[in-house]
């Protein structure tokens, strides 16, 4: 089954690449699995369920599995202001080895930068033999890699081999060995070199220009409409992810808490700086690491931990955001800051303890109240931006899902409404929301009156109940 590929490469003339695919197939049998995930997809008033079937790779002896989780990333670029988001909820996960052994697994989380999803096998009292990634010192254009793609379910055996080549070594916005020959369906597949060592996973370079550019880094879009830039997510990056996989609902990103823009050549000129590149602080969130460090509106972040911030275009802001978010919660960062004081420019060194970035709307605690067919969740940082009100100037829970024709829907609720009171009970979080409604339900009143904030105004909504 050895495959010989003949290909003409300009610089090398005619070369033959040879991978021992028989040997490779035997090797991957230990850790290559099929992952079946039941997914509930909801978009405000619409919900649907379906099953995804993907190839997965066991990456730890305890049974941690990595797979293409990009479809589970939730921040939607389409509805930033609607107060609700597109939400995917993974349900039951089944893992099937190539030998046919079946295990149950629980969802762990998705890394928002690579799009890799993680799940963990439970209830299997065995030690798995995971894939071992080997760091590559230097990638070169022309390096060949092999991988496997998962075939449709009616085909047996389930895997097909594929090969590709490093086509470019991208250096900006970050180092990324770009490949040619692979396709997007092989996303998150293991890449092997000619020695059959795993060098990384097939990943994608995302355009930082698609970031919303706000300080939270929460509106970044990972959706790409054009040809994906596929390449190698290296062993070094994977090691960090595997050691500390992202957990849904738990924020592992750090942030400064500023709204920012880049120090462009034009603005640098106006400010009397000969050297463009930096982050202009446009807003400092109260209580944020930036505020604690004494950062002020108009300050320019020139360097972080002594490394120059070379962001001189707004479409590069996400590079800075990613850098800060990857530094980690609890890390102390040293900011070199230029502060315009009158005509003068002062240079300051500020130390700040990075804190967890605010929770995304999709991660906020939620409660579905079935009798009224509505779901509400806690208010999060981005809600205040969307509502165009000051942070924490509102209390309540956000109506995030409404079933069409449900009691809440026909009583006049809209997505994005902020429920502040139920009858005479104040509602500050979903716990209040669920406990108020549970208490009310036991009395089975004929109506429940909600006091609701809706884009700058308030109103009362009466739900005429229909207890079963």
């Amino acid at each position: 089954m050895a495959v010989v590929v003949l290909l003409s490469v300009l610089s090398r003339g005619v070369v033959a690449q040879s991978f021992e695919f028989d040997q490779l197939y035997n090797q991957i049998c230990d850790y290559t699995v099929t992952v079946k995930i039941q997914v509930e997809l909801s978009f405000g008033t619409q919900t649907s369920e379906h099953e995804e079937r993907l190839m997965g790779t066991i990456v730890s002896p305890e049974g941690l599995i990595v797979f293409d989780g990009s479809f589970l990333i939730e921040e939607s670029p389409f509805v930033p202001s609607a107060g609700f988001s597109f939400r995917t909820t993974p349900g039951r996960i089944e893992v099937i080895t190539l030998a046919g052994d079946k295990y149950d697994a629980e969802f762990v989380g998705v890394d928002r930068y690579t799009g890799f999803g993680f799940a963990k096998i439970y209830g299997a009292n065995i030690e798995f033999k995971p894939v071992e990634f080997i760091p590559v010192k230097k990638f070169e254009v022309g390096d060949w890699f092999a991988t496997y793609a998962l075939l449709p379910e009616f085909v047996d055996p389930p895997l097909a081999a594929d090969i590709g080549m490093v086509s470019n070594l991208i250096t900006a916005p970050e180092d990324f060995p770009l490949t040619v020959g692979f396709n997007a369906l092989e996303f998150a597949s293991v890449l092997y070199n000619e020695e059959l060592k795993a060098v990384g996973l097939l990943g994608e370079l995302t355009d930082p220009g698609r970031s919303g550019g706000n300080g939270s880094g929460m509106m970044e879009s990972f959706g790409q409409m054009e040809m994906p830039l596929l390449g190698v997510i290296t062993a070094e990056r994977l090691e960090v992810l595997i050691a500390n996989p992202p957990r849904r609902g738990k924020v592992d990103r750090s942030w400064l808490g500023i709204t920012m823009q880049s120090l462009t050549v034009d603005i640098a000129e106006f400010l009397g700086l000969d050297d463009p590149g930096g982050i202009i602080v446009n807003e400092v969130m109260p209580g944020s690491p930036a505020a604690n460090a004494g950062l002020q509106i108009g300050d320019i972040i020139h360097a972080v931990d002594g490394v120059r911030v070379e962001v001189d275009r707004d479409d590069q802001l996400a590079v800075f955001q990613r850098r800060v978010s990857a530094m980690g919660i609890g890390t102390t960062a040293e900011l070199t800051v230029i502060r315009p004081v009158g005509e003068q420019l002062d240079t300051l060194r500020l130390l700040t303890l990075l804190k967890a970035a605010p929770m995304a709307a999709s991660d906020a605690d939620r409660f579905e109240y079935e009798p009224f067919e509505m779901t509400a969740r806690n208010l999060v940082f981005s809600d205040f931006l969307n509502y165009n009100v000051e942070q924490n100037s509102l209390e309540g829970v956000v109506v995030s899902e409404l079933k069409p024709g449900g009691l809440a829907n026909i009583s006049g609720f809209r997505l994005g409404d902020v429920i502040q009171r139920i009858n005479d009970q104040m509602v500050i979080g979903v716990d209040d929301f669920s406990s108020s409604l549970t208490a009310i339900e036991s009395e089975r009143p004929s109506e429940v009156v909600f006091f609701v904030w809706r884009f700058g105004k308030t109103l009362f909504i009466n739900v005429r109940t229909d207890w079963p």
Partner: protein, 456 residues
Amino acid sequence: MRYWITILLLLIATTTTVGAPVSSYQEHVYLARDRVLPALVHIQPVVEDYQTGELKKQAVVGSGVIFHPDGYIVTNYHVAGKALRIICTLNDREELLADYVGGDPSTDIAVLKLRLQDYTGEIAVAKLGDSDSIQVGQQVLAMGSPLSLARSVSAGVISTKDRYFSSDYRLPSGEKTGRYNLWIQTDAAINFGNSGGPLVDLSGRVIGINSRATFMANNLGFAIPINVVKEVTRAILEGGEVPRSWIGVHAQAMQELENYFGTDRNTGVLIASIDPGSPAEEAFLKAGDIVLQINDQSVSARFVEELPAFYNWIARVTPGSKLKLTILRGEETYSFEVTTRPLGQLQGEDYECSDWGFTVRNITHQMQLSNQLRDSVGVLVTGVRRIGPADLGGLNRGDVLKSVIRVPITGLPDLIEQYNRLTDENPNKLLLTVNRNGAIRLIVLDLEKGVSQGDK
């Protein structure tokens, strides 16, 4: 054979036309036509539009009716409110210029005055009726220029006399409208161009001003009741606008909430929302308060159709008046004194910075409230011209301009001063500071990039 058939047809034709008596309905239609049609005006204003980031002139068409022998015409604000030049065609097809006298976006009414110096004909004046005594099912005529077809008459009935529209509806120029009035709904055909024209009863009196048609629907037209129009035109003739009092409360119909608040039917007006910084807030009114009386007169709004009357009650008092509100809060009744303030302009004045490639609007207090701005300092960017310097520099519609080359802009006069000064100085680049969603942002305009309209 053919000869005979022709004779026969002629005979039938003559007997039917000559012999049939004119119905009473038809007589009334003729009467109403003769009384109002001579006062009907076809209006062609040239209006200003700032939405695209540059001042664009647009020729529009509407209708109007002469209601005063001095040549005063009533029409819609959305027809002639932002007019630069107004051409009117009277029913005798004579063209005259008219001047804008004043308008009221809240009720979508404007008053124009014909320039009669060179007019030799006789000005016909339509009689205004009483819209409080109209009935559903009553036959009516709509007159105007549907799709610019002047001197058109259509007929129908009054479908509803108290149609309510939420005051979130905005005119094309951006003002919220409909807070202070209900509409007469009619199935008499009303199309674009009928706007501002009269809705006439069969005694030949104007009972409404046609102002809204419905897209994708048949025979759904809406007219502003003439009693509202009379009040508004009177104020406009006196002072060019309608002075209104404001206390900053938003009411909600009580229906379905009486049980919760423990009130009797048709008792009180529920305050659902209070504007920040308003007289109501300063008087410590709260959402959930029920206004039982204003100045010892009972008020109520069980249905949405009753809300405009409540808002009008407050709007009608002289700004600065003290109102005594009797409030039910919980189970107690309290008395509050609220001092009204002038409502002021819904929208500020527009201005075009053509060399810089954007348009702005002065921020009025009402704009600050409806755009959720933190204050009214600065000017609101209303449009950014495509590929102009501002567009290339990253300015967005909705930004609030706070400074130009570090000179603070508190309002439109500041900006005009800076714009004129800098146009003379002709710098290559400008630094603007704007507020976008609560955060400051710096924007550089490269005035050599992006060709201004005038240079083309």
